[in-house]
Amino acid sequence: MIPRRVSKLRWRNTVADWTANPSARPERRVALAGNPNVGKTTLFNRLTHQHHKVGNYPGVTVEHKSGSMLRPDAAPIEIVDLPGTYSLNPRSLDEEVAYRALIGAIEGSRRPDLVVCLVDASNLERNLYLASQVLDLGRPTIIALNMVDVAESAGIEVDPRKLSEELGAPVVSIIASRGEGIEALRNAIAGPLPLPARRRWKLDPCVEQKVEQLAQQLARDLPGLSPQQRFSDALRALTQRGASFFEVHHTPGFWLQVREARQALENAGISSEQAEVAGRYGWITPLVARAAAQPAAAQTTLSDRIDAVLTHRIAGPIAFFLILGMVFQSVFNGAAPFMDAIDGATVAVGNWLGASLPAGPIRDLLVDGVVAGVGSVVIFLPQILILFFFLGLLEDTGYMARAAFIMDRVMKRVGLSGRSVVPLISGFACAIPGIMAARTIENQRDRLLTIMVTPLMTCSARLPVYALLIAAFIPAGAVFGILSYQGLTLLGLYLLGIVFAVVAAWVLKRFVVTGDPSVFVIELPPYRLPRLRDVAWRMFERSRSFLRRAGTIIFAAAIVLWFLATYPQVDPKLEIEASRAELSQLLSETSHAQRRAEVSARLAALDSAQASYALRHSAMGQLGRFIEPAIAPLGYDWKIGVALISSLAAREVAVSALGTLYSVQDADETSTRLLDRMRADVNPETGNPTWTPRVAASLMVFFVFACQCLATVAVVRRETDSWRWPLFMFGYMSALAWIAAFITYQGSSLLGLS
């Protein structure tokens, strides 16, 4: 755990020692590079005043993003935030993005003029490995020595001037999380470019000789390459077997020479693949000893003591499920008063519009379409905010990496590794960032498997559907007075998604995506107190995104659904008209109060039957009845079918569709709560309730498995660069959803449940 005390370190930087070019180029492009979880995005946000997501676990950033560093006295400087990487020998897609950006190999973007390489002051030796590779690229580089406070608390004192002398590059000390040293870094970035560093580390003499020979060959093959680039390429070619995209521009003659050099080294008993590691660390280790004072003895930290419990083989999984349980209990119990307030506001707006506007299609559209449709979704905003509050805490404290560690055992059994857990947990928020986070998995088989099962994790868009059905059909009691049935049901749905994601991965691994699993290695960041400002900003961003969806997709869907539920309008049946005339006559002739009440009730029932008849014959009714045979075995009527089709746009639209449908059908009802209308709905043909706990359970199970999200399908298409996998995913999830809902509905019938 890192204390939040103010560092007493005096901000020093050595930029002036390394500058050559006196004029700053106005179009300067600056790349932020560094190990994962070293604070690049935090620094990026500080420099550009943006609010990109940060978190205390490796792999938060998987794409490069850029922003402008504005200065009152100079032209804007483009700052590019790169995914974290441990070395410039990329293994995963996100690392490859970082490497390509640094060498200027990303289409449409040029090589950076300046690289700011962040290093963790508390973990200097490992971080300087990447820094030495960045320096070898021959670009002007500034070393940003971050987390100086963490180093101090661990008893490590780094001398920036000494470090700068040793590295041959300027060093600026910063604490990005607190904004300390940022102004000095800004000045360094905007100031004259430092001279590129020259290589100071040495390879084993035999390897050095081979690399020189290869670099000479490159000079003949590709005269445009700089000497530094020639050396880097030659070194990589010799030491990295299976090197990927950067091989393509080399000639067959060069590769023949590489093979011969490897063979010669092997014959001499020298491992070419260890050469770079040994050479760089042979330089870095004594360098760090000179530039940083280390504590005499290894310390057991507070993080170690917390980990003794949270990563314990028995206590760890128990804590994991307790934490998840607490989150979902809070989602239900904590949101209730806020949801009631939004519900009240929605009702008030509907009533006000109903009273203010003249009767007609415009009023019906606004009250029954827009307010009922959008309002029925917006009501779930408090639950989504609470969910994101807890997800933010888990991400900021550093628990995500522990969750990956705990779940590795289970994931291993199904052929994945714990590396898949971070994308899967990210899927609790939304499948799309989860699928993107799979870029951190270097093994392509594991990455594809993770992408295929991440949409089974319960995303926040499912929450409105679950919350509506749970509130309507699950009693509000509690086990032992603490664990509410409703919260437990929600937890059960989340667990169902997790369990079947694991099962699906196992099946896919056996029959569809075969191959060897990747190795599990993950860095566990120290626990940190969450920064409430970051958590609050994430909640704000999420609520803005949710309300934007409500104001666009759901708003549009509500209008379209209202039109489809209202038109074409049909004439009521003759017998209904005759009965209405008869009852109206009777009402006008009767003065007995009880008799009048009976007649009024029969008239209301007649109105309801007429509305139901009109709805069944509307465009939406016809569509719903068309698909009804396919969904009837699941216990659904055509209205639920319409909700399912609508939810393909976004899962929450299912709730909006039900809101609009029941509002149109029960336009004269005094109750405006959707769940009350659902509970009261009766199938006009059978006379049985449309909604029962069995139907609700079946529908919730359907939503656990169904891939009702076209945006997810589109992202899978982009990430796999093929239509094969998104279509396969949509197909298997839809089939799974139908079968599971069928088993739930019919199985509960066999068990005698209502």
């Binding site: 441990y86 070395s87 020998n89 293994r91 508390s122 973990n123 030796e125 490992r126 490995y129 963490v150 180093a151 661990a154 490590i156 084993d204 077997r241 299976g242 092997e266 008993g269 020298i270 491992s271 693949e273 260890q274 050469a275 590691v277 040994a278 050479g279 660390y281 280390q294 290894a298 057991t300 930290t301 993080s303 170690d304 980990d307 003794a308 990563t311 314990h312 083989r313 990496a401 990956a404 560690f405 590795d408 055992r409 291993k412 590794s417 714990g418 270097e442 190795v519 599990f520 290695v521 993950i522 860095e523 566990l524 120290p526």
Partner: protein, 85 residues
Amino acid sequence: MRSSQPVAPSPAIPLAAARRNQAVEIRFFAFADHVAKPLRDVGLREGAALRIVSSHRRVIVAIGTSRIAVAADLAAGVFVEELAR
């Protein structure tokens, strides 16, 4: 920097079997270099001095201030030299 092919030196013990709080040093990896690379990337390299934080099925090791979790089968393939008991 010499070949990393496994030999079985008698004083070495597998990392996975090392006791908690034991200080160890990685001698070499008993598997191919492409498997060793992810370990080297996070600082688990030949010659690195470690401390075992936890060694149940998956091993957590401390290198300086960083903590690295490794699957047990990988950890078992890392031979270490005992530095202190």
